[in-house]
């Protein structure tokens, strides 16, 4: 049973309010090391240097969207196996299927309750304590 406090997380979303909300939700779930970035390009650089364990990324972002970001992470020999959970809109069924093909670990549909995010993380990491 992994400790949430031992998992380093990177939250990527272009909306400041959404990043803050996800950060609070993760902290309520016991995560201690939560970083965030407003864009995929800067997040990619930070993931390489910070070696995070879990990326939680929005799909709908300007410049580089969540699928392009996922593809870039998976193509990198150093960070390619980082756990990646995508946040999508309710109508993004096709996005989820494309993300699955690119190797996403799981996805969460916005708006989500904290329990839904916890469940999706636990499906990848196992039950958190």
């Amino acid at each position: 049973m992994p400790a949430a406090s031992a998992i380093r997380v990177m939250v990527v979303d272009d909306q400041t309010s959404m990043r803050a909300m996800i950060r609070r939700t993760l902290q309520d779930l016991g995560f201690k090391d939560v970083r965030d970035k407003a864009g995929a390009a800067e997040a990619l650089a930070a993931i390489k240097s910070d070696r995070v364990h879990l990326v939680i990324s929005d799909y709908n972002m300007p410049d580089m969207d969540g699928l392009q970001f996922l593809e870039a992470v998976r193509a990198d020999p150093v960070i390619g196996k980082t756990v990646f959970i995508m946040l999508t809109g309710s109508a993004d069924r096709e996005v989820v299927q494309k993300a699955a093909a690119l190797g996403v670990n799981n996805y969460v549909v916005k708006p989500f309750a904290p329990a839904a995010l916890k469940e999706k993380i636990e499906r990848v990491f196992g039950e958190l304590n």
Binding site: D14, Q15, T16, S17, M18, A20, M21, R24, T25, N60, P62, T88, G89, R93, V96, Q97, A100, V104, N106, Y107, V108, V109, K110, P111, F112, A113, P114, A115, A116, L117, E119, K120
Partner: protein
């Protein structure tokens, strides 16, 4: 002029001349966003919690942030630039005495969201005790708010997804 009425929980984005997006507001808030360069504009109409309903502040934030994200994403997909967005805020009235100040909570959220996201606020007609009719002509850059006697009925809110998605991946 073509008229597009919206109700609680909806949003619309238009990019052509001669279109009015309109809505009736009581304690709900409508945010009108416009990119003055492309003339793309849109309006949403949302409520954080129903009067008398016990929704924790974090839950209320989720509704509002999601409603704003849907509008902003639709604007950007239509070709608007996030950095140029300007907002007009309406609604958030406290119409029914004794049912708390849900209108003020909605209004405060809208103001805080714009501040957090760095979106400039243009016209701002929030709170008070009267319902409002808002008409927004995005392409023309015009917006009009009039006080009306009766607020529209509130629709039930849908709780944020407990399951988080129904497509089975693995």
């Amino acid at each position: 002029m073509r008229r597009i009425p919206i109700v609680q929980g909806e949003h619309r984005v238009v990019a052509e001349p001669g279109v009015i997006i309109s809505t009736l507001l009581g304690s709900c808030v409508a945010v009108c966003l416009q990119d003055p360069q492309t003339r793309i504009g849109g309006m949403n109409h949302f409520l954080l919690a129903e009067p008398g309903e016990e929704v924790p502040p974090a839950g209320q934030q989720r509704y509002g942030i999601h409603a704003m994200e849907l509008l902003i994403n639709a604007m950007m997909q239509a070709g608007a630039s996030r950095g140029r967005l300007r907002a007009h805020l309406y609604g958030g009235a406290n119409i029914i005495a004794g049912l708390g100040r849900i209108g003020s909570s909605n209004a405060a959220f809208a103001r805080q969201f714009m501040a957090a996201e760095g979106i400039e606020i243009g016209r701002c007609e929030l709170e008070g005790t009267h319902a409002r009719k808002v008409e927004f002509m995005p392409y023309e850059g015009r917006v009009r708010s009039t006080l009306v006697d009766r607020a529209p009925p509130l629709r039930a809110l849908h709780a944020p997804g407990e399951a988080g998605g129904d497509v089975e991946l693995f």
